[in-house]
């Protein structure tokens, strides 16, 4: 629950708490990759909701563009999730590992933008 609380803060901030939760579940909680992904989706829905309310109040959401991206993204997610249900655990796990490595290298060496403080 503590792991979920910490990743919840990161998820609400939009910096990828979900990827960390899947990682935690598969590495330490002995949950299978597919099940971990399922837990993470539900978990994201729960912890993004209060964060979204705050983001809206602070006028931080770009609504028009967000709705356009959500429409195309929902269609893509539909087909992609169906595809995912048909592949093996080991394929999912290796693919997820490669995704983590790519993103990890990119974020570790991220340079701050003008509007990101050190």
């Amino acid at each position: 629950m503590i792991a979920a609380l910490i990743t919840g803060v990161l998820t609400g901030a939009g910096v990828g708490g979900g990827t960390l939760l899947v990682l935690y579940l598969t590495a330490f909680a002995q949950v299978e990759q597919g099940q971990a992904q399922g837990i993470n989706l539900l978990y994201f829905l729960i912890c993004a909701l209060p964060a979204l309310v705050s983001h809206f109040r602070a006028r931080l959401v770009e609504v028009r563009g967000g709705l356009i991206a959500a429409a195309s993204g929902a269609a893509a997610a539909f087909f992609s999730a169906r595809l995912s249900l048909g592949v093996s655990e080991s394929f999912l796990k290796t693919g997820f590992g490669i995704l983590l490595l790519a993103v990890g290298v990119k974020e570790l060496f991220a340079k701050p933008r003008d509007d990101e403080e050190e």
Partner: protein, 119 residues
Amino acid sequence: MRSQTVKYLVAGTAAGVINGFFGAGGGVVLVPLLLYWLGLPARKAFATSVFIIFPLSLVSAVLYFMGGRIDLRQAMPYLIGGFVGGVLCGNLFKKMPVIWLRRIFGGLLILGGIRAVIK
């Protein structure tokens, strides 16, 4: 169609593909696109990515549930912790040093990625 609209369509599709397949990681693709391709300020990009990924996760979660990938009893402790974390995030968000969050996050992902690929 305006180029901004096309960019949002492409960004949403990329996030949807990752979100549906891996049940996570939509944001790690989407946030850089919102930041560098669409030119949103950092905090707005993070907040908008949560707004976009919410409906994608809803679609994926329904399909995962139907496909037997969601065990509600197993998920419950994480859902409670996640909700509290989400509430905290809303209050802490403006005070967080974003670049350090990203670096810590990057380091953890590399460790996890190595482990997942090797195993």
